[in-house]
Every structure is written in structure tokens, then in C-alpha cells.
Amino acid sequence: MSEVVSKFLFTLRRIVAEPLGAIGLILVIGMIFGAIFADLLSAHEPIRISPRDRFLEPSLVHFLGTDQLGRDLFSRVLHGGQIALSVALIAIAVSLIIGIILGLIAGYGPRWLDNLMILTFDAIKSYPTVMLALALVTLFGPSLTAVMIVVILVNVPGYARIIRTQTLALKSSQFVASAQSMGASTTRVLCIHILPNSIGPLLILASMDIPVVIAIEAGMSFLGLGVRPPTPSWGAILNDGFTAIRDTPWIAIAGGVPIILTTLGFTFLGETLRDIFDPRLKTRV
Amino acid sequence: MNVLEIQNLNVTFATEGSTLRALKNVSIDIPKRCIVGVVGESGCGKSTLINSILRLLPENGKIDAGTIKFEGHDLTKFDLSQMKTVRGSRISTVFQDPMSALNPVLSIADQMLHIQYRSKLRRKEKQEKSIEMLRRVRIPDPESALKRYPHEFSGGMKQRISIAMAMMMEPALLIADEPTTALDATLEVAIIDLLKELQSQIECSILFISHHLGLIAELCDQVIVMYAGEVLERGTAHQIFHDPWHPYSARLLECDPANQTSRTRQLPTIPGEIPDLKAIHKGCIFRSRCQYCEDICTTVPEEFGINGHFVRCHRKSQ
């Protein structure tokens, strides 16, 4: 156990040694902290409407001001962080599970299935993301579920491809062949020999997808296709601010700046992690 | 009269935490119309020597001391723009691997025209000159060859093209960096003949670098033996090959596969490894591998020479 701790501390030190890594870490920790303790940190309820307090400028009472319904923006921003974070984590976890399973099937299964799956992945990838999102939303109606399905559809092909490539490479390798010759079952070979070898780069890439997912959620909520009002989401706040951008710019600032800081934070952190663990991935865009 | 006179050249590379001493007190003379060969194992500083002459050293490399006199001017005093006027016009180079020495996305014509960018000739004349050069290196159908791309030629043909490019501006000095190493033995002879022929026509000097002793013996007028960044012995080809003074030169000749008279399963090698150039060495650089090593060898041997035959070894100078 202490080995894990020391390894973690070592990684942490290497992250902080890079200026961008340190900035990213601070932003990410701040964002997570704000999301977890949103209720404690904000004196106001994120969805309480108060017609008397409409369009208040930032003040000591309302740190970020209020919106067109008199809701406290600081509280909405913190609670919006909860939404962004949970969507990102849940959607990526589900994509990872599905992607790993499909990738193993494609890599280990028969050739025709592999070809068919690759063709399907390419087809899914060939939808422009927003168009796919728009199509799904027409059918599901605006909801967080729709957002998650979009994210899963967008991410799974990439994850599955990585696992497939690694599986194909390992399938023919010596140690998998020897495991098979000793009578190990297919499932056992997959779980014990192939998966641990391919999971590392996959996790790094998945962590780098977090800001992308946050951007998708915010974007769909901005279009009114994500969260339903009055649930707070950064995209929704940005949309509120956008409609009143000339007179009350602070609403647009309150909605947009968290998106910028969070995506930057996760990206800086992800890039630093990638450089530390797997410099080979550097050339990948 | 010498085209190139290198005197006491010292080159170091800054590496993490230490300096690597790549060349130490290297002195070389290349007379006019003379072919000078440099032999030595890989890592002996042959490439660094070329890169120092052309000022193509990597960023961490530095000329610490010494002069490189070319046609009367000290190249180490030249700034980069002056160097550029020398490169390609007065000193040309043929590199080792013809597969990667030519630009893959530019046609032969483009590359040959670019080399003539200083020339006042018109485009048409430059083109004709290129075709003429290709003909001289015996590229079949030079007009259409000009329109092709490097990958469309075989290795031997590419090396002929490289030579054509290098000779086109009629340089005073041609540096040939192992020009035949990447080629088959049969092609090797043809390339060497070609080099000789063009050399006598253009009347340039050649600095020929190779680890192939047979080639050096056949082609070169003078030979320089390098080891671990130092010149151990220099002289005429006859002197070096028939009466090697330095133990290292003698071992090199013994180890040359061409000199094997009896059938053997194992090629003879010189025991030991090239010393670590990051460490500080006292005395003779070859000491650790030398079979005649004595107490005196812990001091640096002075260069000793008669009749143009020079050596750095205490055994000779005593």
C-alpha cells in the first residue's frame, strides 16, 4: 500500500514541477472542491426564484450577481459544476466499459466481425458530433440522458479501437500463446493478459476526454438541449447571459468563465499526465 | 599547396552534466588534387570532423580551439552566412545513405536547380547543366530522370545523383562520407571509379571517409587513422598500409576481413572498447586496448614524423 502512496506522491511531484501541470491541478482541485461543497459554499439556493432580485450586479451578497429570475449565480455556478463533473465521470466510465468490451470482441473475435465493427465505428465517427447530438435530442427530447448517450456514442469507437489494436498485437504475442497452450480459457486470457497491458494508454486518453465531455454538456445545455430548466448548468447560464449580453454581461461571464477554467484545467493536467506516463502519445492530436 | 589545413582542432559536445570530448588536437592537411582517406571504427569522430568543417554541428557541439584553413581562409572565423557561401559551392558533400539523403517530395530537377541558386545562368541553362551532370555520372536517359523523384531510383542510382549534385558546382573539396557503405559490393566499385574519374576531371580534392580499408587503399593518396577523436597516424597510403607505425593501425589492418589468409570461423577483433569520451583521459588514448602498453604511456605522446609519415606513439618517438 505504501508503494502506491509513494508512487502517487512521486507523480504528484512531477505534475507540480511543470508550470502548466501545477496550474491545471489547482484549477481541477478547485473545480472538484466547489462541486462537492456547493451547498456549504453558497448561501443561496441555486433554483430559488426571487423576482425582486432580478439582474443584480455582482456584490458581497451575490458574488457573481443574479440572473433574469433573480437566482444567485454563484450558487448556480457551483451546482452547475456538480452537473458537469457527474456527467463527465458517468458518461466516460460507461463509454470505457462499452469500449473495452467491444474492442476485445473486435480484436479477439473472427475477422468478419472485426471488419464489420470497424466499419460501424467509422460510420459513427463520421457524424459531426453536434449533428449527432441534434438528431438524438429530437428523438429523446432535451435531457441529461441524451447528453450522455451522445458522449458515449462519440467516445466508444475511439476506446474500442485502441483496445482492438492492442488486442490484435498481443493476440499473436508469445506470452498469450503460451497461456493458451497451457489451457487458459479465452476470457481468462483476455482479462489477465490482454486487458492490463492495454488499459494504461486508454485511461490517459479517457482522462483527456473529460474536458471534451464537459464542453459537450455545456454546449448542449447552451442550446437548450441538455439539462432542463431550472437545473443549473454552465451552458444554460451562458445562454441566459447571452440573451441579455448587452445589458448584463456578468451573467455571460459567470456562465462562460467556469467552462473556460475547467476545460483548461483538465486539459493542462491531462497533457502533463500524458507526457509523464506515455510520451509516445504526444504526437497524437 | 593545401586546399584544407586543419590544425589542433578540438570539438566538445555539452551533454547532461558533462562534456564529451569528440575531437582532440586533430591536424589534417589535404593537398590540392589529392584524395585523403580517413579510417577508424564507428564513433572515432569521423562525422564530427565533417560537421566541424561544414559547421553543421548539432546545437550542443562547439569548436573549442584550432583552425580550419580552407583556401587560405579560417572557416572557424566565418559567420553563418559566409559559411553558406562556401557550402555547396567550394565544399560539397556526398552523404552515406543515398536512400535518405535526397528530399523525397522534390523532383531531381528541383533539387539540382536549387543547388545552382547562386549561379547567374538562366533556368534553361541550369537545366542543361543538370542534364549534363547526370550524363557524366551515367544516369540513363537524364532528361526524363530530371523529372523523376528520388524514390523512383535504386540506391546506386541515387548515390550517382548525389555525386552529380555535389560535383555540379565544381567544388575545390568534396567530402565523401562513407558513400558506398549502404550499397552492394558490385555497385561500390562503380561508384569509386566514378568518383576517381570526376575528381581528375574537376581537379578537386576529396576527403574520403570510410571504415572499408580496401577501398581506402585503392582510392586514396594519403590516409589518416582516427581513434576516439584523435588522429593516431597519418601518411601516404603506401606508408600506412605497408609500414603501419601505430599499434592501432597495425591491428586495424590485421582485422580487415580482406587480409584473412586462412579460413576461420571468427574474425579477429581488437579486444576492448572505445573509451568513454566523457571521462578525462591521461596519456595515450589507445592505452587501454594496446598490447604494448608501458608505464610511459600514461603521458601524452608527442606527434613524431619523418617523410610525411606522422604518428602519436611513444614506441616510435622513443
Partner: protein, 328 residues
């Protein structure tokens, strides 16, 4: 060894085979994409007719629309009709005005294409010089600053950039017009209206291209043919641009197709933020009015467009890189 001419014509023949193979693959991908789109619409709870009509529709209205949309037929017939019609360019009629979907979408497409072209111009015009510049001066302060800038514009979503660009340049500074596509009869005015939205669309790819060009430039500058060029004393500019960049640009060209796809996504936001006409605005409005055939038709058209562009990018590489040209 090469002699005579047959190799050239052989190259061309192989290139043709390669192009045909890529074309076949593209058609297969479009077909699968169509199939998936169809499956998606079919699997979703609630049939498109009730989705389109909304909750207050009567059963009779629903039945009528089902028949009209051909949804009363067996599923495989539906798919076959959809498939055949789509390949013939018939994407059905939209619900509100009953006009052909293909017609409506193609009418809006030029606006979106102009926006993407603008974004492309921004990203190439800024990205390639930045990438080259930082590669030649790597390790310096400007290299680091531009590096952080590149990551930042890649990370920040384009719609946020669009809104803040609007806030800064159109609302506060008032340098550029805020909304609309400009006077239809005034080309200059239209260009002026294109500047901000296309920058918002292209800025992310400025970062991508700068990074990619920098990375591949660094690789190419190490190559031995560059050393040869230096040894021949060629001018730096010639070496950087003709000898190095012409190779370093190739990986970027293959990814331009992907870039156009992403810009298409950004264009949807830009059209909504800047209130410009275009396919994105069309689909957005269609969703609000539950005009389902229009949405699926627009998705299909943009997807096909994206696949065609990618095909094109792949084929262009063949003409830019003589090595690839002869390999296939």
C-alpha cells in the same frame, strides 16, 4: 533501377485503383451511417409521427401522417425505401411546408460552407506559420507562449469563444457587426459579417495545426536530407519552406478532413450565436418545431459531406506526396 516510361503509367493505374478502393469504402461508410440513422429513428420509443405532431394530436391525424411518411409498411421495406430514395437525393418532405428536405438543406448549405471555409482559412493562415515559427525557434519563450495558446484554444469550446468574441469585438469595441450574415447584395458586408463567426469556428484548429506542424517540422528538420540541403548551402528560407514544410505539412493535410468535421460542429453554434442562416440554424429551428424529417435529412447531408471531404483529403495526399503516389 528505373528506365523508360511504364512506371509512370503504372503509378497512375495503381493510384486509380487506390482511389476506387477509397471511394468504395466511403460509400460503405455512408451506407452504414444511413442504416444507423434509420435504426436510431426506429428504435426510439414513440414513432416519429407522434413526435412530430406533439402530444395534442388525435389518433386519426397520427395514422394519416404515418401513412404519408410510409411508416405503416414493414420495417425492411421502410429502410429499403429510405435507402434507395436517399441515394437518389430524395430525403422525403419536411412537415411544415411539405417542401423536399434535400432542397431545403441544400439551400442553406452554402452559408455553412462559407463559414467553414472561413474557419479553414483562419486556421491554415495562422496555424502553419505559428507551427513553423515555433519549430525553428523551439525552446524559446515565444515557443512556450504559443504552445500554451495552442492548447488553450483547443481546449476551450468554440461557442464560448464565439460568445466572448461577440461580447468583446461587437458589443464593447464595436469593430465588427454582431449578428446576421450581412446585406445580401453587398459582398464586402457579408465578408465583414463572416470575420468573427469564422474566427470562432477556426480558432481551435489554429491550435491543432500549429501543434501538428511544429511536431512534424521538428521531426523533418532532423532528417538527413535536410542535412544534405544545409551542406549544399541552400538558403534557410528555401530549406524551411520547400524542403521541410512541404513534407511536414502532409500529416496535417490528412487531418484537415477531420478538422472540417469539427468545424461543422462549431459552425452550428456559430450560426446560432451570430444569428446567421445555415444548416446548423436550420436543424436547430427544426428541432424546436419537431420537424423530424428535416433534422434527419440535414444530419445525413452533413455526414455524407464530411465523408466526401475526408475521402478528398486522402486522395489529395496521393498527389502531394510522390512516395504515396507510387505506393498504391
Amino acid at each position: 533501377m528505373v528506365s523508360g516510361d511504364p512506371k509512370g503509367s503504372l503509378d497512375r493505374f495503381l493510384m486509380l485503383i487506390y482511389s476506387l478502393k477509397r471511394l468504395a469504402l466511403a460509400i460503405a461508410i455512408v451506407s452504414v451511417a444511413m442504416f444507423l440513422l434509420f435504426v436510431m429513428t426506429y428504435l426510439i420509443p414513440g414513432d416519429p409521427a407522434s413526435v412530430a405532431l406533439g402530444p395534442r394530436a388525435t389518433e386519426a391525424m397520427r395514422e394519416a401522417l404515418l401513412v404519408k411518411m410510409g411508416l405503416d409498411q414493414p420495417v425492411w421495406v421502410q429502410f429499403w425505401n429510405f435507402f434507395v430514395n436517399a441515394w437518389q437525393g430524395d430525403l422525403g418532405n419536411e412537415i411544415l411546408s411539405n417542401r423536399p428536405v434535400a432542397h431545403v438543406v441544400l439551400e442553406q448549405l452554402p452559408w455553412t460552407l462559407a463559414l467553414i471555409a472561413g474557419g479553414m482559412i483562419w486556421s491554415i493562415a495562422l496555424g502553419i506559420p505559428l507551427g513553423c515559427w515555433t519549430a525553428v525557434r523551439r525552446g524559446g519563450l515565444t515557443d512556450r507562449i504559443i504552445g500554451v495558446f495552442s492548447v488553450a484554444v483547443i481546449a476551450v469550446p468554440s461557442f464560448v469563444i464565439a460568445i466572448y468574441a461577440l461580447l468583446l469585438f461587437a458589443v464593447y469595441l464595436q469593430w465588427l457587426p454582431a449578428i446576421g450574415a450581412g446585406n445580401p447584395n453587398d459582398f464586402g458586408d457579408q465578408l465583414l459579417h463572416l470575420i468573427l463567426p469564422s474566427l470562432a469556428v477556426g480558432l481551435g484548429w489554429v491550435g491543432y495545426i500549429a501543434r501538428m506542424v511544429r511536431a512534424s517540422m521538428l521531426e523533418v528538420l532532423e532528417a538527413s536530407h535536410i542535412r544534405t540541403a544545409r551542406a549544399f548551402g541552400l538558403p534557410d528560407r528555401l530549406i524551411t519552406y520547400r524542403y521541410a514544410l512541404s513534407i511536414a505539412i502532409l500529416p496535417t493535410v490528412t487531418l484537415l478532413g477531420v478538422g472540417i468535421g469539427q468545424m461543422l460542429s462549431s459552425a452550428v453554434f456559430a450560426e446560432i450565436v451570430f444569428a446567421r442562416p445555415g444548416v446548423g440554424k436550420l436543424v436547430y429551428d427544426a428541432i424546436l418545431t419537431r420537424n423530424y424529417p428535416l433534422v434527419s435529412g440535414a444530419v445525413l447531408v452533413t455526414t455524407a459531406l464530411f465523408i466526401i471531404i475526408n475521402l478528398f483529403a486522402d486522395l489529395i495526399i496521393g498527389y502531394l506526396d510522390p512516395r504515396v503516389r507510387s505506393r498504391f
